[in-house]
Amino acid sequence: MNDWLANFLGDPHALLVLVIAGFLPNEVWRMLGLWLGGGVDEGSEALIWVRAVATAILAGVIAQILVQPPGALASVPDWLRYGAVAAGFAVFMLTRRSIFAGVVSGEVAMVAGKWWLG
């Protein structure tokens, strides 16, 4: 039982890192919003910039997963990963922005391509 628990939790140091690098820098913005809320205009210029930077950071993370894929995804050739994303995006646009249709098509394209390659 103790082994199972130790295995489940893993390295205690990593859990501390989770709180310091994950929980606190994320939660601080929610609590600031709660405390300072009311005085900020949602359409203000500063918030447009913040949203653009946050969107670009997320785009960078998406690119990182595609360009330097982790674990099992690295077994899929580069062109197939990019092609699958392009296919998913094309279907998304064709179906009047259906996220569901786009994700399913991208997945099908990748699995079919990989299966065909053997």
């Binding site: 489940f8 994320n26 929610r30 674990g71």
Partner: protein
Amino acid sequence: MRSVVTTVLTLVLFATYLGIGALAHDSHFSLGWVLGSTVLVWAGPAQIILITTLGSGATVVQAAVAVAVSAIRLFPMVVSVLPLMRMPGTKRRHLVLAAHFIAVTLWVECYRLLPLVPRARRIAFTHGLGCGLLSVCLVATALGYGLAANLPALFAAAILMLTPLAFLLSTARNCRQLSDVLALVLGLALYPLVATLQTGVDILISGISAGTIAYGAHWWRARA
């Protein structure tokens, strides 16, 4: 409860968290760690940034800065949605848990659903919706983690692929103006270039520059 089941976004959220669980497994984090991150962080992008930066050898400070910058968007979300729940007698501490639940999905759903709920019951409704979505996501996280550990490489790769697909498309769908679209496109294009510099803060450099250029274009067009 019905609201949890019927939102289409729940399906996307489920796919996202399957991907996060699988990503955490392949980046060598424990199951407890990734479930803890779902409860405590409760923001898909921040969790993915945390896992990919730490997993690729970034320091705690670098990861914390990247997460903090990505999470700034939660601030305007909380600011804009809480007035929907506030009543004359509402204290700030009553809203702490509701504020913690605010992330992209809940923010969008609050705008859609809260007007249908009597004002006095909106905080309770948000707690219910938040707990429901969180439970769904915990199941998805554990399932993704387990599947990545036990499935053949092809299916594990397919689950990892859910993350970039779901995030790319849901971000593309949320684009409201020129600056959002430009930020997404430039952010995708700049990262591979900046990554060749091997700075350790590639994501921050490409994100802040792409976002600022996108904002500059918006500003310039508004002037013209």
